[in-house]
Structure formats: C-alpha cells, structure tokens
Amino acid sequence: MILVWLIAILLVAGILAEISGRISTLWPRVISLAAVIIDFAIALALWRENSAGITLATQSEWFRQVDWAWVPQYGIHFHLAMDGLSLLMVVLTFLLGIMSVLASWKEIQEGVGFFHFNLMLILAGIVGVFLAVDLFLFYFMWELMLVPMYFLIAIWGHERRIYAAVKFFLFTQISGLFMLIAILTLYFIHHGVSGVYSFEYKDLLGTALTPHTAMLLMLGFFVAFAVKLPMFPFHTWLPDAHTEAPTAGSVILAGLLLKTGAYGMLRFVVPLFPGAAHQFAPIAMLLGVIGIIYGSVLAFGQTDLKRLVAYTSVSHLGFALVGIFAWNPIALQGVIIVMIAHGISTGALFMLVGELQERTHTREMDRLHGLWATIPAMSGVFMFFALASIGLPGLGDFIGEFLTLLGTYRVSLGVTIAAAIGILISTLYTLKVIQRAFHGPNTHQWTLPDLGKRELVMMVPMMLILLGIGLYPQPLFKTFEPAMRKLQQYAAPQPVLTVVPDTHHVPYRQDASRDDSEMNLERR
C-alpha cells in the first residue's frame, strides 16, 4: 500500500499545485516540495527497514508489493513491487525531485501551478516505471511520463523549445510503440503456451520462445530503452531536449528519464530474453562504446555549456549499456553506481549551468571568461561536479565506471580499452570548460552574485552524497545485491555472457578479492 502512496502523494500534490497556482506563485512550490520531501522520507524509511531485515528476508524477492486486479478480462494487474534495484532508483528519483523543485524556485515565473503539476506528474510516472512489475502497467507509466515532459520543454524551455519537445516526443513514442507490440506478442505467446492471460513479469519470465522470435521481441524492448538511454545512433533527441528544457527539465531528463532506459534493460531485456540478449551483447556493447567515445568527442566540440553537459550523458550512459550487457556481478554493481552517480553529478551540473544562465543570460563558453574571479564558490562547486563526472577517484562516478570497466574486462578486452579511451577524452572537455569558462582574466568584466543560500542547500548535500558513494559505496551494493542475484537467476538458463573461459580469470579474481572483498560478490 505504501507504494501506492508514493505515487498518489505526487498526483495529489500536482493537482493541488495546479489549483493553488491560481492564487499565488508560492503555494505550488511549497506543496510540491513538501510532497517530494515526504516521499523521500518514506523511501528512506523503506530503505532502512529493508537493510535491517535484509539477512532474514533474502528469499522473498519483493520486500513490498501491491497487487490489485485492474482489467481482469485481459489479465492486467495494478502490480507495484519493490526490490533493491527499484528502491535505489526511487530514492534517486525523490532526491532529484527535491532538487528540481528547488532549481525552478526562481527560474519559473509564469504558469507556476501548471509547471509543478507537470513536474509532479513526471515524477509519478517515473516512480511508476521503477515499481511496475505488470508489463501493461509498466507501459502505461512509461508513456505517462512523456506528456508532462513534453509540456515542460515546450512551454518553459528556451529558444528552440518546440522543435526539441516535438522531437523528444516522437522519438520516445515510436520506440515505445515497438515495445508495446513486443509486450503484446509476448503476452499472446505466453497465453498460447500456458493458457493464462497475464502481463505479470514473473509469469512472462522464461516463456518458451524460438530464438528468432526471442530476438525480435528483445529488439522491440531494446529499442524503447535504447532511445531513452540514449544509445548511439538513437541519441539525437537528447542534446536538443536537454539544451532547450528548463533547468528542472534537464535535471529530470538526465538524472531520471535516461535511467529508466537503463533500468528497463536491467529489469526486462536481459531477464526476459536471456538467450537473445546474449547473442546481441557484442553489438550492444559495441554501440555502447561508440556512444562513449562519440559522446565525449562531440562534447569536446560544443561551445554551449548545456549542450556540452548533454553530450556527456550520451558518453556516461554508454558505460551503463556496456556494463549491462557484460552482465556479470562486478559490471552490474558498476552500472547501478554509474546510474546513481551520473544522476547526481549531471543533475548538479545542469543546475549550475542554469544558475549561470540566470546570472549571465548566456550559455556560450566564449562569452564567459574568468568567472572564478567573481564567483569563486560557484566555480569551485562546478569544478567539483565536473571532476566527479569524469571519474575522479573518491567520488561516486569513479566507483561506477571503474567497476563497469573491471566487469567488462572479463568479457571483452577491446571494449574495455575503447571505453577507457572515452574517459580520457572526457578529461579533455572537462579541462576545456574549466579553463575557458572559469579561469583566465575576467575580460567581460562580470560581477555576479555568488552561490546563495538556496543554492548551497541544493549543492552541498549532493556533493556529500557523491563523496559518500565514492568513499563508502557498500550500502548501495548491499541493497542492490539480492535484486541483482534474482535478475541473474532469471537470466540463468544459458550461463550468460562469459565469452572468455572462466579459468583464465581465476588468479585475477583472487587478487581482486584480496584488495577489496566487496568487489567479488560472486564468491560468496
């Protein structure tokens, strides 16, 4: 029941925000903030409860669930369930939700009520995506979050907002419809085999499919998630959408919407079609690597700060794709950290770019120069997150990318090397930004206000969290591990994705275990 509340609170808050928006511009903000904070608190409480009972309840997969008949004629259930993976994603959702409400506090001045209505609806849709285990419900939520996102970009975005919003909408819609066809085909095949109409995740797992059908269906799901992720060559909506969206929109897009793609791959693509995913893995990993390098190279060529950050997302999410299709415990642990850390660091970068734009009315790097002299604190914070995002050891992103590479190494050396080169390029563009926008003489004579109280309240916790993940990621691993084991178990029939003979790695693994016992989970 508590899971329904997580969504219901957001919906109610959205409606209240819309209504109260008629009276004042303050109420919608307060209501939305309160709703997201309450949800965040609930999610944290669930986490604590879960981590306390984790040793006892390792057998049951979901530690919370709600299952109501919805459209019984078609075997559709309103079935929400939470495991470690969903929990982490939900916590991230609410954290970034709080940040996006705060980030729009000053930026959004028109249509405040409707803005927060949309914001709440997106968050509700995203939470729904992370919790749904009925495939119809999943698709419902998947589509639900698109419309408010469209409005967010189309109404409150920047210059080319209509173009960006329409492009975003069309890309995600068409890929989603392919997923719908795949879901339905799977549903009818399952019915043909078992005689039961069901969209239930657990029922559909292990449905007997011919390799050919499995491959087609897998591609149907894959395309939907690849567009969201975004995977090269389906990424072209992303730079436009991110650049034109208001700050809150960019934060949610980069921090959460992209994660739904990675989540879908983890939860659905591989477990539902292990054989096909195994076959497809080399291609997926190749595309992931292309994304890593291509994203970094294009980021290096940008002069618009926001666009630059947007392209870095293509690059970072490439790691997630590579890691998912490497599909071994180390890589998967890496993926989950990449998802969370990227959400926070890129979200923060977008917020900072938004703040910069508010102050200077530009996002062009050439027009900024020597900002360090006038806003040292903000520049410092920017550098912190920029370095985090390229994987400075001690910060969250490092752990994620390092583990992903480590896991990928056991599958393919070539991919690992190429991905590592991607990291190298990312240091180049980061240095370029820092150098061109913040260092140097203040030729434009900027005199700007430095970080305010509200901005500090947003930035400091995010910095601390990144630092926390970087120094002590164990709580995340611990929460994710049971869920990961289950996922691997579902994908088990074919021992998945061990391209290199296992014996080759035995000494290496033992070495690793001595260094860091947490990294070698499969030994337990």
């Binding site: 459209v71 078609y74 409707f114 419902f140 639900l144 209509i162 068409i174 066809i181």
Partner: protein, 484 residues
Amino acid sequence: MNGADLIAILPLLVLTAAAVVVMVAICIRRSHLLAVWLTAAGLVLAFASLWKSASAAPTQATPLLIIDGYALFYMGLIIAATFVTVILCYGYLENQQGYREELYVLVLTAALGSCVMVASNHFVSFFLGLEILSVALYAMNAYVCSRKISLEAGIKYLVLAAASAAFLLFGMALIYAQLGTLQFGQIASMLMSGVAYEKTLIYPGMALMITGIGFKLGVVPFHMWTPDVYEGAPAPVTAFVATISKGGMVALLLRYFYETGAYRLHSVFVVFSIIAIASMVAGNLLALLQNNVKRILAYSSIAHLGYILVAFLAGGNRAAEAVTFYLVAYFVTTLGAFGVVSVLSNDDRDADSMEDYEGLFWRRPVLAGIFTLMLLSLAGIPLTAGFIGKFFVIAAGTSASLYGLIFVLVVTSVVGLFYYLRILVAMYRPLAETGKTAPVAHPSLSRSGSFALAGLTVLLVWIGVYPGPFLDAIQRAVSTLRIF
C-alpha cells in the same frame, strides 16, 4: 408482429414518437428551449426503454430487426451521444440567427436511422436505416444556411451520399440475384456451405457494398467528402457526423461481415487491408498539411477509422470487443473535441482556424485543458480512453498476427502525433508571443455546454484509468453477436 416484438423495438418507437412530438410542438409554439427539453426527454425515455427491451432480448422482431445485447448496446451508445450533441446544439444555436427548432427533429430522425442500422440483420433494414440517417444529415449539414460553406457541405454530402447509396443498393441487388435472400443468417449458411463461391456475381456485389459502406465510414478512397463536410457543417453537427453516423455503420459492418462470415473471404480481407492501410497513411499524412482545426480532425477521423478496420480484420470475439471499445473511446473523444470547437464558435463562424487556439491555455485554462485531454486521447496517450482503445486495437491485431497492419498503424500514429502536437503547441504559446494581450471576446461558456464537456472529460479519464466495467458491458454485448 406481436406485443413482445413491440416491446423489443420500444427504443425505436420512442425515438420516432419523440421526433413527431417535437415537430408538433414547433407547430404549436416556437421555442428553442421547449424543443430542446422535449428532445432531451425523448432521448432519456428512449435510453430508459433499452432496459425494457432488454427483457425481451434476444429476439428477432420481424424479419428485419434483431434486438440483441449487441444492438441494444450500440443503441445506448448512439442515444447517449445524441443527447450530448443536443446539448451542444443548444449552446451553439443560441448564438445563431434564424430558425433553430427544426434541427432537433432532424437529429432525432438521424439517431433513429442509426439505431435501425445497428439492429438490422437484413438488407432492407440496412438500407432503410441508412437512408433515414442520410436524408436527415443532408439537411443537418446545411442547417446554418446563412453560411455558404455550410450549404456547400450539405450539397456535397447529398450528391456523394446518394451516389454511394446507389452503389450499395446495386451491390445488395447483385447478391440477392445470386443467393435469393436478403437475410444475413441465410447468406451465412450459403457462404459456409460453399454454394455461394460458385456464383460469379457475389464478388462484384460485395465490392459494390464495400463502396457504399466505405463512403459512410469515410475511409480512403471514399473519404473525399469528409474534410469538406467536417469543415462546412456546424460544429455540433460535425460531431454528430463523426460519431453517430460513422458509429452506426461500424456496428453494421461488424454484424454484416461477422454474422455472414464474409470477413473470412480472402478477397474481402485483402480489400479491407488495403483500405485500412490507405486510410491510416493518407489520413495522417494529409492532416499534416491542414491549417484548419476541423479539417485536421476530419483527416484524423479517417485515420481512426483505419485503426478500427485493423481490429476488425483480426476477426473473432476479441476483435469485435476491441472495435466496440475503440468506438466508445472515439465517441467520447470526438464529441469532446467538437464540443470544445462548438463552445468557442460564435454566430459568425466556427472556431476552426489555428488562430482561435493560439494561447488558449492562458485565456481559458479549463477549456484548453479539456481540449488537451481530448487531443491526447486521439493520440492514444495514457490516462485517456484513447490509450486503452489503441491498446486493445493493437492487442487484437497482434493476437491475429497482423504484424504488417500493426506496423503501419504504429508508424502512422506517430506521424499523427505531429498534428495533435501542433494544436497543443498553439494552445500553450505564451500570450506575449501571439500578440493577443487581452482575452479574445468569445461568448462565455454556456452552462449546458460546460456540463456536457465536464461529463465527457470525466468519462474520458474514467475509461482511461479504470476500463474494467466498460469492458465488461462490451464483452456481454459482443457475446451475443453470432460470429461465423
């Protein structure tokens, strides 16, 4: 015909009586309000009498009419939709000059025709129903006769509808000449036994009938009238044409092709596949080129009928359910969309240019919100009835492995998003950009109109969020269809 038969066809009798009563009332005292009240009362009575005749169902009342759960369900849908149209007409006509009351007689007659169609399993009642509906529509399309465009719509519809009726009649005659029967059931047994296939005139007969049916549905290549009539007819009448006239024909299409088993003929399948694909492609692509909201909706309705045909082609109970569900969703949505258009219209012209919608959200947030929901439902986005409808259509297609058709549906429906989004973009454009600083003077929303729109919106979201009860009713209704 005995007493039980009379009870079975009670809804039809009530509608007929209501039309007469309104006509007489106009002779005695010309009052818009009175005419509306009488019409509404007639419709409510007719709706209530559905339960009475349900007690007699299923029954074959005279050789012409079959009163079963399916017919009653569709009658209910038609009567309810007519009720909404009447409310919209009231608000719309209040702003118009000239005689207003006769429209209601026509509306009742047209509804009667549509109700006859959904209950017919005989060529005679098929044709009678169609003609009752069509003749009433000729006048309705041209009702606001001070506008040239409305007259043009009426004439166009008259000429084309008469021609298509001739095609239909010729087709029926050919089939009759070969099989010697007008009854769906008997045609079915002849098709089943294989006798019919040796007769050469069956196929031309079928082809001519499909022409007539296709015209009424407004599917490609029989769609030429749709945009012009949609544009020219007064907005509430457009709503009527889009829903009740097409809906009655869809119901008949299902019954005719399913109960005779003709949908199993390979050639019928091919023809309808081509029509469906052409409608989806042409409807969605041509809508992109339009600048007039009513014309956009017209082309979009062509595409929607194409989607319905995809489900129809899947065949079987599930397909019939999907078609019916889609139609219910389409009714609610289309009535809502044209409802918004008609409450925004004034005595001079209908609110059909894009400019009327520029920045509507900032001027009339509630109305714009309703229109947004309706457009999203047409586009098939969750939380709205259109989403569930589209889902069932795709499900029906997938279950019959019609992947080619489904693929076209998916791709074209994304193209379709484009023009729905265009209207949305216009509605949410900031006032500063549109240059309209002050609210444009529109007649304030009439109470009746807002009542109807609110009801439709609630229904739209209800069906979209909790479709179970509706699906239940539809399943029960469709199960009475004798599908071969």
